[in-house]
Symmetry: C2
Subunit: 352 residues, 2 copies
């Protein structure tokens, strides 16, 4: 296997001391890059993700162009659902559209089990290409979490309020828990397979779970999340697991006793408050508002302010609170990466 | 003026003791009602809101059908912007579309001042019709808050992440603050005019402001909100003002020192936590997850649990954390209203 020459990300995510704060950006590979937009003129998203060479190229781009300290697999969270028999299409500027949405217990019973080698060989090949030959930084594998995946599968596409999803959860626990079980097993198998192919860490995206109250999270979601994390940790105790959800400050206390190594936070909470809520031993990842990427000076100012709080103790990865979007200029991400590197190095030296 | 025979809502919103908890529902007038859907086959939203008789009929429907303790004017928050020269159309199942979005300081400078009597006479006539003749419960007037209105005006329509809006806020303070000033004055004038026409309380909808951090709210938004509230309170010290925002638990501490009488909260926070954050002297309004309206038993169960917390001290109005949506059955809202009435009456008697 290729030697990772830059392991800052892995150290930070395990809350070990570092000489400077590592940085990567959610959705760093994709729509904001001119090279990617050129590819998209010829290929669909699934064309790219199903072709290991192309997919590895897109995954690598931000490492080369921005100097980030980790790569994240270029992939949609819906990818593995195809193996379960979900008929999904990614519509440009809309998102995933599911042609056979889940409505009944029978629909859930019919879902197959994922066999990563059979169903998503291209994912594993892409990871091997990247980690055995191409990357000098760690590769983060990732998958969607059951609530978020279920929301697409039940609503039939992106949703604002998840009414149908929650209605199933509240009204039909037998169907709900079977769906959670199946998606939980799928997610664990998918992430374990990515680790076995070479991913150095995995991130679980439960993007929309912040739409639930804390009590409902604890009752309907936490059991399956605990199972997923324990399953990965049993097979791969040394591989860091990161939990990511948007607008979920009210759930941080519930994430506290999941065996994850790091938690992604957004700008709606301060580093100080988040550290109090998640407790000792867990790293944080975040938390710049991506809208700031359109406001150069203010962006650099806010990054400095984040770093001043974050460098007070080990365990911090600089990132955004939500994904990079198409209007962001690559030059801005390059500048921000350099700023985080140099500023955090100074702050960490001063703090010693 | 017509005599209000049921003033429970006004008492509760002023944190005075009541014999049972009053209830109304955000978006109670509109899409979930068969009578309304029948009207919409013939008329557009603006057709209805511009016709005082039709608009009063739609506003009254939920009082007659569900037995709620307050009516809220049937109206879109974009309504008064027409008076400022904003070219807005409400597209069914999309939302407001603005044909001349705000991009520059010049665009903001060009915005006119609202003259309620000249620009929205139909709003004032509807209120008069309702309050002088038709309603036996208080009528709540309402308006959008500057951040939320600006988000539509700048993005050109509904948005997921408000990147352009925030970019203007972060990058171009001169333009931003002029826009806030103009929208703040408009909102205060609009709400004062509604009160003078007969509205017994007003609710300010800052629906999307929860997308900002607490620090940014304090810097960019709070000054104009303070101005609006002080302006209304100066002219009408006894008329209750309610603040409403979605997914904004992290901003509750900032609402604390605005002179509002009540604050709407959603299901992401408990009544107990919210009471701690907003402090004494402010009533709460909320906080049922509207998705529960699709799950009969669980909905009634959760309503009971809310009432058990809420009745521990005066100052609570039962409502949803977000609006009623088209799939909700009128029968469910009727049943829920009765349940809140009877259960809260028992709980309040027991507590005496």
């Amino acid at each position: 296997m290729n030697k990772i020459s830059n392991d800052l990300f892995l150290k930070a995510v395990k809350s070990e001391p570092v000489s400077r704060i590592p940085v990567w950006y959610m959705r760093q590979a994709g729509r904001s890059q001119p090279e990617y937009r050129k590819l998209k003129e010829k290929y669909s998203l699934f064309d790219i993700t199903h072709n290991p060479e192309l997919c590895a190229y897109v995954t690598r781009l931000p490492v080369e162009n921005y100097g980030v300290d980790a790569a994240i697999l270029y992939k949609d969270i819906m990818t593995p659902l195809v193996g379960l028999g979900v008929d999904v299409e990614i519509k440009s500027s809309v998102g995933p559209i599911i042609k056979n949405p889940i409505q009944t217990l029978q629909n859930v019973e019919k879902l197959s089990e994922l066999s990563p080698k059979r169903d998503v060989p291209y994912v594993l090949e892409t990871i091997k290409l990247l980690t055995e030959e191409q990357l000098s930084v760690p590769l983060i594998g990732f998958g969607g979490a059951p609530f978020t995946l279920a929301s697409y599968m039940i609503e039939g596409g992106p949703s604002k309020n998840y009414h149908k999803t929650k209605a199933m959860m509240y009204r039909d626990p037998a169907t709900w828990y079977l769906l959670m079980d199946k998606l939980g097993k799928m997610t664990a198998d998918y992430l374990n397979a990515q680790i076995e192919a070479g991913a150095a860490a995995v991130q679980i995206f439960d993007s929309w779970v912040g739409s639930l109250s804390r009590a409902d999270y604890a009752e309907y979601i936490k059991p399956v999340m605990r199972k997923i994390v324990n399953n990965i940790k049993m097979s791969h105790p040394d591989v860091p697991v990161i939990m990511q959800a948007v607008a979920s400050s009210h759930l941080l206390v519930e994430f506290r006793d999941l065996k994850v190594d790091a938690i992604g936070i957004d700008w709606r909470i301060t580093i100080e408050n988040a550290r109090e809520l998640v407790g000792a031993g867990k790293a944080l990842q975040g938390n710049l508002d991506p809208s700031l990427l359109l406001a150069k000076e203010k962006c650099i100012e806010q990054a400095t302010s984040i770093l001043k709080s974050a460098t007070k103790q080990p365990g911090f990865v600089f990132n955004l609170g939500h994904g990079v979007f198409p209007e962001v200029e690559p030059e801005m991400l390059k500048k921000l990466t350099q700023h985080v590197h140099t500023t955090s190095e100074i702050l960490l030296k001063e703090g010693m």
